[in-house]
């Protein structure tokens, strides 16, 4: 018998013993900052939708009047992404946060009326690459159908409010649900 074959069972047994020598981690640990950040974003979004719903055709419902909200949301989600990226085995939460950012980007485009035809693959890629466009313009490199300037006076179609709010609420809820599962799983 070849000597390498003689040693194979020993090597396998040693591998099994060594693998038993430490706990396995497949998913990141619970992160309070992610949990609290997602909850804050959810509250901010609720406040945004309640404000618009109160007077959907009023001055306070224009994109320009809510530009500050979009800027804050873009900063908050970016900070959460940076935080998540620094945690070991956190790929699932990182991808969830990218999807949250994408949906905020679509919300901004809807608010400015920047999508005037059914979406194509380039627009989806532009949103994925460049994220939320907090400017007052429509820009194709941020997913708009066409470039256009001065869209600050635009308002969200009131019929969209309920659905978009539900989707973002559920999305952020899924980020928090996973954090809670991590906390339970780790006996926290």
């Amino acid at each position: 018998m070849h000597p390498a074959r003689l040693f194979m069972p020993v090597v396998l047994a040693a591998g099994l013993v060594l693998s038993a020598c430490s706990n396995i981690q497949l998913v990141s640990r619970y992160d309070e900052t992610t949990d609290a950040g997602a909850a804050k974003l959810q509250r901010d979004l609720s406040s945004f939708f309640v404000g618009i719903d109160a007077a959907p055709m009023g001055d306070e419902a224009t994109f320009a009047a809510n530009q500050g909200f979009y800027k804050r949301a873009a900063i908050d989600v970016s900070a959460l992404q940076a935080r998540a990226a620094g945690l070991y085995k956190n790929a699932i939460t990182i991808e969830q946060l990218v999807l949250v950012r994408d949906n905020l980007a679509w919300l901004a485009l809807l608010h400015k009326g920047c999508v005037t035809a059914p979406l194509n693959a380039e627009q989806k890629e532009a949103v994925r690459q460049n994220g939320i466009d907090t400017s007052l313009d429509c820009r194709t490199d941020h997913g708009a159908t066409a470039d256009a300037s001065g869209r600050g006076d635009r308002r969200l179609n009131p019929a969209l409010l309920g659905v978009v709010h539900s989707l973002l609420d559920q999305q952020l809820g899924s980020v928090m649900a996973l954090e809670m599962a991590k906390k339970r799983g780790q006996g926290g």
Partner: protein, 110 residues
Amino acid sequence: MAELSVGTLAKAMIGAAKGSFNRDWPVVKEFAEGELKKLAQTLVQIGRLTALGRVNHAEASVLLEMQKNTARAVMLALQGMSLLMVEQAINAALGAVRDLVNGAIGFALV
């Protein structure tokens, strides 16, 4: 045009998810069923708003993209929950042999 029903959509989505998660389904069932029902509700809402002409085709297209992103985020949560159960099972198995291994090698390696 046939009216979409939340019950029919939810049943189809839950059936598909159950098949995909297979043995892990009991672990994620409670969360999954609630979330898939919510997704079915928003899908029906989008269909209804489009059929009534309250949202145009461009807006409907964005809503569907947002719906897909939300569904993916939910599925990722389910995947994470399932992995956490696997992690717990492996670590419980390792924990069960900890004393044996440490005893055999003569020091607390595990």
